[in-house]
């Protein structure tokens, strides 16, 4: 009975690990095949994931730039207000 459980454990290991390997191997083939089919027969104009990513980044970059510029202007403006004579002097 107690030897039994080890035997059962070994069996479970063999079949379990076997199934995992077979399953993921099939998944490797299925995925590779799928990717090839999609990219050959249904290609996207430009890889969407990247585009959206870069679009976001572009928008973000612009937003950051605008905000920094606003802050910058604001500081410059403040500096001018603090030195009332500066404008006339420039």
């Amino acid at each position: 009975m107690q030897g039994d459980i080890v035997a059962q454990g070994i069996e479970l290991m063999v079949y379990g690990m076997g199934t995992v390997l077979v399953f993921l191997t099939l998944l490797v083939f299925a995925t590779t095949g799928m990717s090839r089919m999609v990219n050959r027969y249904f290609p996207e104009p430009i890889p969407a994931a990247d585009t959206s990513g870069s679009a976001d980044t572009a928008v973000d970059a612009r937003l950051v730039a605008v905000i920094s510029a606003a802050i910058q202007r604001h500081r410059v403006a403040q500096a001018h207000e603090k030195q009332p004579g500066s404008r006339q002097g420039s």
Partner: protein, 431 residues
Amino acid sequence: MENLAQLWSTSGLAQMSLGQGVMILIGMLLLFLAIRKGFEPLLLVPIGFGGILANIPGGGLAYSAVENALYSGDPLLLAEMAQVLGLAEVEQLKAGLAAASLHSMTAINVLALEAGFSDGMLYTFYNVAIASGVAPLVIFMGVGAMTDFGPLLANPKTLFLGAAAQFGIFATVLGAAGLTALGVMDFSLADAAAIGIIGGADGPTAIYVSSVLAPDLLGAIAVAAYSYMALVPLIQPPIMRALTTAEERRIEMVQLRPVSQREKIVFPLVLLILVALLLPAAAPLLGMFCFGNLMKECGVVDRLSDTAQNALINITTIFLGLGVGSKLVADKFLDVSTLGILSLGIVAFCIGTASGVIIAKLMNRFGSTPINPLIGSAGVSAVPMAARVSNRVGLESNPHNFLLMHAMGPNVAGVIGSAVAAGVMISLVGG
């Protein structure tokens, strides 16, 4: 006076057992680890707090109405319960209940409810969220909706690494069986299978499998799984360094190709079909995972995807955590089997890490494209921690070598791998 005695007798101090005190301290320790040390706080804060609540003496928050009746000890009620089971002695009641048929349990439950006992709060949370299987599945859906299969699709061979790392699971099953054979522990094969799944480094998978195969061990298994996932940055690097040469750790990998949105949409369906054809027992877990991922990638149900990633997964996590806490009740958790589970769990992590690294070495040696063996350890899952560890150890040897995206492939493959392993276990042991 009588009231004062009643108040005192119902107070916690009068009823506290040593075990409950110990468990409250363990709950505090989990909270400390979660809050101060950052150990998987999203789960360990609710689990730790639930563990404290479960062990409030006299609170009975983790017990069913029947258990609460049993511990309150009203002799007439207990006699009635024993009678339902056909037991001569009330002392046999506890054993009798464990073996009772569903039919007698229903009758006994009615007795307990009519006597004014009710299910504890945490017991209800456990039943609704975990015993029903719903909470782990919903969390898996949310995880699916947060997972980007891009790196995996760019390099599908990394799926092998996700498979390899599951060896930790099965080696641990064997270990648990061996300890039982040696008489050190007393685990059934179902227990062994549930313990092994800790090596999958996947909280919801571990909880799901335990709830099916070994509900009594669920508390210890969940605590072990989440604690060791948090310890991945400590556990893995020594093993990774020991099994690789400095040369190997410096290997730079070719940049991943861009992956189209259409591939990302079709992938969860391919995975689903493969599950349907080969391993229906994994269908609930992987089905919900693929569903979440499809919602994310298809781009037409963003409001559902957002909810799956936020409100729904958060609500479920709260009740899952508190429900797991209900299994930290002293008389179930403080058992020698818990020590066994904790020891076997860390062994599972180590073996999984090692197998992943070794297979990556082999793939590097015998394959055409260079593979840095450090990404093999990410195959245990523990997303995204294990991938970050691969990246960090890689940077030590080559400061210009960013392995993060390469390691994300095996990392998400490990999630699939352990869900497949869970399916095999349930199919072979639970059936």
